[in-house]
Symmetry: C2
Subunit: 269 residues, 2 copies
């Protein structure tokens, strides 16, 4: 799709205010980056891979304290049906980071257009490096090596970091705390401008944070979400996917004013 | 896929207990019906249709009292990032009904296999009848007429009732209360055995209940969820879809022990 077509598409999704902001600054946090221009998917779908961990009250959190509670509010034998009541902080389990999570004027999760949630999924495998170094940060060189092997990352894609950390999600090795610091892999901040230059729409990690566990400045979060893009944390099963060719279907919760939150994340292969 | 292959697939998803139950009774509520046997989708995907209403604290509920609260728990300027805290009853906004919602030994929402959440979507248009009669219940004759025009409903499909009620979701006309009774369309209970005979996997409505608003016995809910199948309520935008040919991607929340809950629901066309 030509640039002007993209702008018209964005105009439809965001209205005049969004277009003006997007025209004024390509990294405007208020807008959300458009999806890929071509057909959403042209190949047949043969299988569905669940990238979602089961959310339980004891699912590990970045802060280390439980963030999800549930109680049975209605009981079948007494009330005629079963209903649970949830109390939780949005960023728990397999969950989304909307731009507003780290950007004052960023888009809330309900403003991510639906077409942006279905996109090509590119998997960057750093499992060997992460096993050798739990503080590993994916670098621009890792992206370059991926592209040499699998071709240029398409505009509108989601780039997912497979560190192998999903296997630790049910134990203390997920946070991997050492004193006050957490130790797990993430994206190095200088990967953000490279992926923004590719017009990538979103990133995903299989750890608790887009930044590595030892980060105190959240440099990747700020650059990425601040550019109007969104992220996924605590995804599972990236090892079941090819490096390219899968389609992400990211079930972002559609809550007015939400900053992210738990949602079902599937891949079509 | 052959029947034995389906059983092996179900075995993988549910384990020995689930398989034995499924073998013992085809309508066992503990198991969840398998997805269609053939390729998930063979046609290209050209667009994404969002079937999800935006969830707000004032979104109408079946009981008439607000069921979703949110407050800002972390504030960017003070804490370094924005996070909301949610408190809600699962069955609010565009949401899922897992079998356990109405069946004592029914599957919880996390046990619906991922491959079951991506399926052919068949839309039954009863808008004219619902406009003439807000108590309208879709009948086996409606299903027969649909099949005469569009062919037999495929196994593993989701059948969605388009009553046009999604346009009312932001006002009192959605519940449409008249005295103590609600008045909105739904599925008549005797549609359940017909769709079960077709091995349909799920149903969706654009109203607050699978049963019509005036139901006090919840006959469709009990038959449908009691057979190990799941449902979707308060979906939007069914009018933007063809009667057949779309693929549902239903983002059920993956919460251990959940009875359903809000999730993003998309259609691929």
């Amino acid at each position: 799709m030509c640039d002007s077509c993209v702008m018209r598409s964005v105009a439809g999704a965001l209205g005049r205010r969004g277009v003006l902001a997007a025209m004024a600054a390509s990294a405007a946090a208020l807008s959300v980056q458009p999806a890929a221009a071509q057909a959403v998917r042209s190949a047949p779908v043969h299988r569905v891979v669940d990238l979602t961990h089961t959310l339980r009250p004891d699912f590990p959190t970045f802060g280390g304290t439980p963030a999800f509670e549930m109680e049975q509010a209605m009981v079948l034998a007494r009330d005629g049906y079963n209903v649970m009541k949830f109390t939780y902080y949005e960023h728990v389990g397999t969950h989304f980071d909307a731009p507003i999570h780290f950007a004052a004027d960023g888009a809330t999760v309900d403003r991510i257009p639906a077409e942006n949630l279905v996109c090509p999924l590119v998997v960057l495998d750093v499992r060997a490096k992460a096993e050798a170094d739990p503080d590993y940060q994916a670098t621009p060189d890792d992206i370059a090596a991926l592209e040499r092997q699998h071709g240029r990352i398409p505009a509108g894609a989601c780039v997912a970091l497979n560190s192998g950390w999903d296997a630790r999600a049910n134990g203390p090795g997920f946070r991997n705390a050492s004193g006050n610091a957490l130790r797990f892999p993430g994206f190095r901040p200088d990967v953000a401008p490279l992926l923004i230059e590719r017009n990538v729409a979103s990133v995903a990690v299989d750890t608790l944070s887009l930044d590595h566990g030892g980060s105190t400045s959240f440099g990747f979060h700020k650059a990425w979400l601040g550019s109007g893009r969104w992220g996924l944390e605590c995804v599972a099963n990236l090892g079941a996917l090819p490096a390219t060719g899968a389609t992400l279907v990211a079930g972002a919760p559609k809550v007015a004013g939400g900053t992210g939150g738990h949602g079902r994340v599937l891949a079509l292969v």
